[in-house]
C-alpha cells in the first residue's frame, strides 16, 4: 500500500501543452504512470503525442476518463484558478507544481477549499511518487517532477518541503536497499495545501509504512506542530533534518517560505522540537537515511 496515490491512480494534467507540463507528462508516461487526460482550455479534442486526449475543462476530462487526481503545470498567474477548477470538479487530489504563485492567491484558495473534499499538495513542490514494482521502480505513480528511477518500492514514507533534498533522502534509502511507500513534496511556499502534519498522519495510519523521514527547513512553525503530534500519537520511528541553520535572518532562502522573521522559524527551534518529540535528528543531510535506519526495529 501507499498513501494518496497508487500505481492504479488515474491522473490528468492541467497545462499539458506547455513545455514544462509536456516534458514531465512524457517522463511520467515513461515511468508507467496512468496519465489519462490533459486539460488546456481551447485545445479540447486534440491529443497529446497522438495518445492522451485533451479536454477544455477538468470536469469534462474527469467525466470522460475517470481521472481522480491532477498535476498542475500552469504559469503562476493562472495557478489559483486551475487549483479551484480541480476542487470544483471534486477531484480527490490536486498536486500543484507551479512555483511563484502570489501568496494572497493561495490565501484565497485555501479559504475557498475549506469544507471541500479535495486535497491539495503544493504549490511550489516536486509532487508525489509511489514507486512501482518494475525495474528502477517503473510502473509507479509519479505526479510532478521528481526523478522516478531513484525510487524503490518499500516501507519508508518521505515528506519534505524541498525537492532536491527529498531526492537526496530517497537516494540514500535506495542505495542502502531500502524502499519507500510514498514520497511527498509539500512545497516551499508559506501557504500550502497539505502540511507536514497532514502527511505524517497519513503515514501513521498506513499499514505499509514502517518508518518516516521528515525534512523541514527554516520558516513558519509547521515542523514544530508535526513534532508535537508525533510525540503524542505516532507509533512509527521518525527521523528528520532541518535545512537552514546557517541562513541569515530576514532573508528568503530560495523558497518563498524559507525565512526567519521576527526571530521565528529558526532551525534551532525546529531541531529542539524534533528532539523533544523523540524524532531522530540527522547531524548532516548526508545521514538522513542512516539516522532513520538506526531507529528501525531489526
Amino acid at each position: 500500500m501507499s498513501i494518496l496515490v497508487t500505481p492504479q491512480t488515474r491522473v490528468l494534467v492541467q497545462g499539458i501543452t506547455g513545455s514544462f507540463g509536456a516534458r514531465h507528462t512524457q517522463l511520467s508516461l515513461a515511468y508507467g504512470t496512468q496519465i489519462v487526460a490533459g486539460v488546456t482550455p481551447g485545445k479540447g479534442g486534440q491529443r497529446f503525442e497522438d495518445k492522451i486526449p485533451i479536454f477544455d475543462t477538468v470536469a469534462q476530462a474527469m467525466h470522460e476518463t475517470g481521472a481522480t487526481a491532477s498535476a498542475i503545470f500552469v504559469p503562476p498567474a493562472f495557478a489559483a484558478d486551475a487549483i479551484l477548477e480541480g476542487v470544483d470538479a471534486s477531484l480527490d487530489l490536486v498536486v500543484c507544481i507551479t512555483e511563484g504563485i502570489p501568496v494572497n492567491d493561495m490565501v484565497k484558495v485555501k479559504r475557498a477549499m475549506e469544507g471541500k473534499g479535495t486535497r491539495l499538495i503544493g504549490p511550489n513542490c516536486p509532487g508525489i511518487v509511489t514507486p512501482g514494482a518494475g525495474k528502477d521502480s517503473h510502473g509507479g505513480c509519479r505526479i510532478g517532477i521528481a526523478p522516478g528511477y531513484i525510487h524503490k518500492p518499500g516501507h519508508i514514507g518521505v515528506v519534505s518541503r524541498s525537492g532536491t533534498l527529498t531526492y537526496e533522502a530517497v537516494w540514500q534509502l535506495t542505495c542502502r536497499g531500502v524502499g519507500q511507500s510514498t514520497c511527498v513534496g509539500i512545497g516551499g511556499d508559506p501557504v500550502n495545501g497539505t502540511s507536514h502534519l497532514d502527511v505524517i498522519k497519513l503515514f501513521n495510519a498506513d499499514p505499509d509504512t514502517q518508518g518516516i523521514i521528515m525534512i523541514g527547513e527554516i520558516g513558519g512553525s509547521a515542523e514544530e506542530e508535526a513534532a508535537a503530534w508525533i510525540k503524542r500519537n505516532c507509533r512509527k520511528p521518525v527521523a528528520g533534518f532541518i535545512a537552514g541553520a546557517t541562513a541569515p535572518p530576514g532573508r528568503r532562502m530560495g523558497h518563498a517560505g524559507a525565512i526567519v522573521s521576527g526571530g521565528k522559524g529558526t532551525a534551532a527551534a525546529k531541531i529542539a522540537a524534533f528532539k523533544e518529540a523523540g524524532i531522530g535528528v540527522a547531524p548532516t543531510p548526508s545521514e538522513m537515511a542512516e539516522t532513520l535506519l538506526k531507529m528501525m526495529p531489526r
Partner: protein, 402 residues
C-alpha cells in the same frame, strides 16, 4: 521586495491612512523648501529622515562621523544644514552591516506632538493561512523584544480573507489598545486603510511603528501613522507595475542583482567557501554541512532545477567576484537535469575563468557516469566528492590547506 518609507507613505495615503504632512527630496535646497512650507502651515518641529531600507536610523552614524540618520529641527535653515550633512553620505546602522547604505533621499515631515506610541502591523499568519492584525501598546520599540519579554502585550486579530477586515474588528483592536471616544473611530479608519494597503498591494508586511496618539494645535487628540515599513510579495509584482518601479537597486547587493539577471538565486554571506547547488533546500543543506565540518559558507546559490551551461558559467563568475572566497563546492543532485550538462558547464567555466582556487565537485543522479567522465577527461585539477559529507569535508580541508 522592500520599499522606502516615502513610497510606503504614498501607498498608505492613497488608502486613507492619516500621516504627518511632508515630502521627499534629494537636495538641501529641496529640504529647506519643504520645511518652510510645513512651518508656514503651522508645524513647530520638523523631522528630517534618511531614506534607507534598514532600521536603527536614528541611532546610526554616517561614515563622515556625523551622528544620527533622523534629526529634529525648528527652522528651515537648520533642516537644510542637517540635510547637507546626510545627503550623499553613507549611513551605518545596526541593520546595515559595516558597509552601510548611501543616503540619496530625505523625507522631511512635520513632527507631531506625540502623546502615546503604539504598534500596528498586518501580516500573514502562516499557521492559519490568514491575514492577521498585530497591535501593541508598546509602540516605538523593537517588537521582537516586546514579543519575547511580554508576549501578553501583543494582541492579534485574525482576518477572514473571504470578507476582509471588518470595521468591528478594527474597533475591537482600537478598544483593546485602551483608546477611547473619537480615537476609536479614527484608529479603526486608519487600521482599515492599512489592511487595504496590505491586501491590494500584495504586501507581506505593513508595519506602523509608532502609531501615535497626538495632540493637534487645536488641543484635540488624534491618530497618525508616524513611521511606516512596507514589504511586497515578490511573486505578485508581475501584476503591480507601479510597485515594481519602487524597487531601489542601490539597496541591493550588486552580486545579487547580477545573479538575478541569469535567474540564479544568490545570497552573499561572509564565509570563505562558495557553493553552487541545484534546489533551494539542498542549497541550504549544503551551507549547513560546510559549517558542520568547520567551514563557513560564502553564499547561498540555487541554480534551479533545469540549469543550463550558460547559467553554470554565470554562477561561477558571480561566485568568483566575492574576494572572500577561498574554495568552491559544487553539489548537484541531477534528478531530471543531466549531470553531463552540468559537468560540461563546470569545465567550460573553470577554463574561461582560469580558476586557481580548490574546487570540489559532487555529482549525483541522472547520467552521472557521463558527467564524471567529462570531468575526468577535462584534465582539470578538481577534487571529486562522493557523498555530501565527503565533498564538504574535502572542501573544508582544501581551504584550510590540509
Amino acid at each position: 521586495m522592500n520599499i522606502h518609507e516615502y513610497h510606503a507613505r504614498q501607498l498608505l495615503g492613497q488608502y486613507g491612512v492619516a500621516l504627518p504632512p511632508g515630502d521627499v527630496c534629494d537636495t538641501p535646497e529641496g529640504a529647506r523648501g519643504i520645511a518652510a512650507k510645513l512651518l508656514a502651515e503651522g508645524a513647530d518641529l520638523i523631522a528630517v529622515k534618511s531614506q534607507i531600507q534598514a532600521g536603527g536610523r536614528g541611532k546610526g552614524t554616517f561614515k563622515s562621523g556625523y551622528q544620527g540618520g533622523v534629526k529634529l529641527c525648528k527652522t528651515a535653515e537648520d533642516v537644510a544644514e542637517k540635510a547637507k550633512a546626510m545627503l550623499g553620505n553613507v549611513l551605518v546602522t545596526k541593520q546595515t552591516g559595516p558597509e552601510g547604505r548611501l543616503v540619496s533621499k530625505l523625507l522631511v515631515v512635520a513632527a507631531p506632538n506625540i502623546q502615546k506610541e503604539l504598534y500596528l502591523a498586518v501580516l500573514l499568519d502562516r499557521a492559519s493561512s490568514r491575514p492577521v492584525v498585530m497591535a501593541s501598546t508598546e509602540g516605538g520599540m523593537d517588537i521582537e523584544e516586546v514579543a519575547a519579554r511580554t508576549p501578553e502585550k501583543i494582541l492579534k486579530e485574525t482576518v477572514d480573507p473571504a470578507v476582509g477586515l471588518m470595521p468591528y474588528q478594527a474597533r475591537k483592536v482600537a478598544a483593546a489598545l485602551g483608546l477611547k471616544g473619537e480615537l476609536i473611530g479614527l484608529t479603526a479608519k486608519l487600521l482599515l486603510g492599512v489592511y487595504k494597503t496590505w491586501w491590494e498591494c500584495d504586501a507581506t508586511l505593513v508595519e506602523i511603528n509608532p502609531l501615535c496618539v497626538i495632540r493637534t494645535r487645536e488641543g484635540k487628540e488624534s491618530m497618525l501613522a508616524v513611521d511606516a515599513k512596507l514589504s511586497l510579495d515578490d511573486n505578485s509584482l508581475f501584476r503591480h507595475p507601479k510597485l515594481q518601479a519602487m524597487r531601489d537597486l542601490a539597496e541591493e547587493a550588486p552580486l545579487e542583482i547580477e545573479a538575478s539577471k541569469f535567474n540564479l538565486n544568490y545570497i552573499k554571506l561572509d564565509g570563505s567557501i562558495a557553493c553552487l547547488v541545484n534546489g533551494a533546500g539542498l542549497a541550504m543543506a549544503t551551507m549547513d554541512i560546510i559549517q558542520h565540518f568547520g567551514g563557513r559558507p560564502a553564499n547561498f546559490l540555487d541554480v534551479g532545477g533545469g540549469a543550463s551551461q550558460e547559467q553554470v558559467a554565470a554562477a561561477f563568475k558571480i561566485i568568483l567576484q566575492d574576494p572572500n572566497v577561498k574554495g568552491i563546492l559544487v553539489n548537484i543532485f541531477g534528478g531530471i537535469m543531466d549531470c553531463d550538462v552540468i559537468a560540461t558547464g563546470i569545465v567550460a567555466a573553470v577554463k574561461e575563468t582560469g580558476l586557481k582556487l580548490p574546487l570540489v565537485v559532487r555529482l549525483e543522479g541522472n547520467n552521472v557516469d557521463a558527467g564524471n567522465k567529462t570531468l575526468a577527461d577535462s584534465g582539470l585539477a578538481l577534487i571529486r566528492g562522493g557523498s555530501m559529507a565527503d565533498a564538504a569535508q574535502k572542501v573544508v580541508n582544501a581551504v584550510a590547506g590540509r
